[in-house]
Symmetry: C2
Subunit: 445 residues, 2 copies
């Protein structure tokens, strides 16, 4: 990946460090400062792509020519950048784990120029996928046992984001995606029905359903709301009987009062003896709409969730930060109002057997009794420590999320007014913070 996929200030700072031989190893901590109002927890995601980004970070000849001609970098700096690779160590919370505010998702330790250059890419990749996985997790909590399908591709933030959304929602428990390339890449079941345009391309609804069922007899799903939903359901019933379909057929409702239409549809299907035909709902769904439908007892078997999940509509970003916490052998911090940071490389200790809040401590302090350490080493000297294929990474992450979801207290799980667990700071970290703050207070005055 081109090293120009970064902010200019990262390049300027790196150049400045390289010119004056500032090569001490720096530790940066990446964390989310505050959760959005309607999030009781976050689902860590994006690490796999972030590590791939670190492994491939280089400047090619065109990059260096641009930095020379447009940005004005001098020859020694360009020479230094031409051989620069990411050679650092990374600790991170594995994907799929539940995390809260002020807990490091990832910590980088590397020569300061390298650690600085990768800031933008790391923040971008972890923030995006964590944002979407956390939104998708709420849809899963709302849906009870019903299946969830990612329908977001058409309105994600660009084509590449569509694959990220498919992946992040799969980690949170979505069972399938409409995005075919993402399904292939991540080993997910691809899922798809028909559009209104298909129905309109035939002389009438029955002709369209007949053609579709003839072409996809194994698992046709008929879109029944193009003209009039109950009439559409009856047309689907006729075609299913006429063709003698016995596989897992379904009908999709995409507009109108979904709860009422689902009940009406179920009755028509059951009256026709088609109790095995599933009802799929779609159309501007999010966790609140799904929860309302479940609450109303709507007999819906699967939800196609699109835009509002894929852009995390109510909270399309997270207040993430990537902050220097140690340079050389010196822990550092920042005192800016509302943006203060804690010094030193960290660890998060979780009460896995109970539901006490996490403890944020120093990486090298011993784990308190009964506590599990969340951050694990994932990269050493610029090389990944795991070797998992993309599908395997998603599967493992989803299993971790399943386990963490079972652990998560109801107060943090609930959709309305969730209360995130609050992390506390260990005595050792508190003591370090006080020592460093006192030193900075003197230095900067």
């Amino acid at each position: 990946m081109t090293g120009l996929r970064t902010d200019l200030y990262e390049l300027r700072m790196a150049a400045s460090y390289l010119r004056r031989d500032l090569t001490d190893r720096a530790t940066f901590s990446l964390f989310v400062r505050r959760l959005p109002r309607r999030r009781g927890f976050l689902v860590a995601a994006g690490l796999d792509e972030a590590l791939a980004f670190l492994e491939t970070f280089t400047f090619d000849c065109d990059d260096l020519a641009y930095l020379r001609d447009v940005v004005g970098f001098d020859k020694p700096t360009l020479t230094a950048l031409s051989v620069l690779r990411f050679t650092g160590d990374v600790w991170a919370v594995p994907e799929g784990r539940v995390v809260f505010a002020d807990e490091p998702l990832l910590e980088v330790t590397a020569p300061i120029a390298e650690a600085q250059l990768v800031e933008t890419g790391l923040l971008n990749l972890l923030t995006f996928q964590t944002t979407v996985a956390s939104k998708a997790a709420r849809c899963r909590l709302a849906a009870g046992g019903a299946q969830l399908v990612d329908f977001a591709f058409r309105r994600t933030h660009g084509v590449a984001a569509g694959a990220g959304v498919a992946r992040a929602s799969a980690i949170a428990g979505f069972g399938a995606t409409s995005h075919v390339e993402a399904a292939r890449r991540y080993g997910l079941p691809p899922s798809g029905t028909m559009a209104h345009s298909y129905v309109e391309a035939f002389p009438d609804e029955r002709a369209a359903f007949r053609a579709f069922a003839a072409d996809f007899p194994a698992d046709p799903i008929f879109l029944v709301d193009t003209y009039d939903t109950p009439a559409g359901v009856r047309a689907a019933v006729d075609v299913i009987r006429e063709l003698g379909l016995t596989g897992p057929a379904g009908v999709r409702l995409d507009s109108g009062d979904l709860a009422a239409l689902a009940r009406q549809t179920r009755a028509i299907l059951d009256d026709a003896g088609l109790t095995g035909v599933r009802i799929v709902a779609s159309g501007s769904l999010d966790e609140d709409v799904i929860a309302g439908l479940v609450e109303a007892g709507a007999p819906i078997d699967a939800y196609g969730v699109g835009t509002k999940m894929g852009v995390s509509h109510d909270a399309p970003s997270l207040d993430s930060a990537y902050k220097l916490v140690a340079y050389g052998d010196r822990p550092v911090l920042k005192l800016s109002p509302g943006k203060a940071t804690l010094p030193g490389a960290k660890q998060v200790f979780r009460d896995r057997a109970g539901s006490a809040g996490d403890i944020v401590g120093l990486r090298d302090e011993p784990s308190p009794p009964g506590r599990e350490a969340l951050l694990v080493p994932v990269m050493r000297d610029g090389r990944r420590l795991d070797d998992v294929d993309p599908a395997g990474a998603v599967r493992a992450a989803r299993e971790r999320f399943d386990a963490d979801l079972a652990w998560l207290p109801e107060s943090a799980r609930r959709l309305a007014d969730p209360v995130p667990l609050t992390a506390t700071v260990s005595p050792a970290l508190t003591a370090l913070h006080e020592r460093v703050a006192a030193r900075v207070g003197v230095t900067s005055s």
Copy 2:
């Protein structure tokens, strides 16, 4: 671009059309159904990438193997897909033009399988960039004459989205971007200062500023809020004087009460005779915060606008649709509640000399007197009609937006409670709609 970058249902519908030789040309219309609450207008964007997507849409051997092995497509379908290219015609609103609800941004006419397969990609690319350009335009309206810089890359929805945001915000009038690769690709000025970590990597603030100014004497911008803002400004003043800098230096405020700090900073700078040193503000800015700062008379010369613009925080998507409006020689429509469509290929007629609302009519009806037609042909037989480099496309789009912004009535421009212009339907289109609705009403009963 791989043909698997689509939703599975597009592939299934295309397969079904190909199998039964349904090759009539279909026209699809892409439009936004409703504007978000706080949008008085949209800025069309994304067309350049959308046309590149159409030109490169193909299925390679791996794609076809996946469709055979996992999706279960048969050999005749795979053969048909292996030679499928987009061969259609496209009309579109040029990038940078102001548009409103229910106005086609783009219309595709192609053999129905092709037109269907590209739905997902077209919706994705146009929706994303139009969403962001429209948000960025509000920041421009808020900022008055101050410069705007795109700082969003670190929290856009993935790395690729960062380039899309740089491009869309440039169309809306942002003057620079922090995203170096995007700056190169689109010919934008790259812009960057320093991070708090840079200040912290030195023994004190003065040492950091001195090093940065030595390395970038032409245009250093000092980040002054790491410890204490007024002290930071005084440190910057000392370094500027000490090194005798005479170029366009600046200071950046990134936290705290920006209006009060900007006034205090201006006073310190002016007292030191540094009236030419600029003040840059950043930190969770959006159009409302910027408008508040401008209103308060804060002496800020440039705004670095990041996440809230880059994810269009208050409205991270648009209610876009891609609807079949004609098939063969038959205009079609959809009657679903809240999602009804108008039949036929369309044109938008604008009152460019006055401020009456647009008229949506039929493509082949004559332009009403004094009205300008918004949609122009941009692709014929799958080939683009223009041949503009990426930087030239952005420049031309920005000029179009400048012109449209000057035309836009104040009621649609204002930030609070804007009132979009409402499009009316031409008599010819109304008549066609009535005829087709009557026919469908009979057909589907």
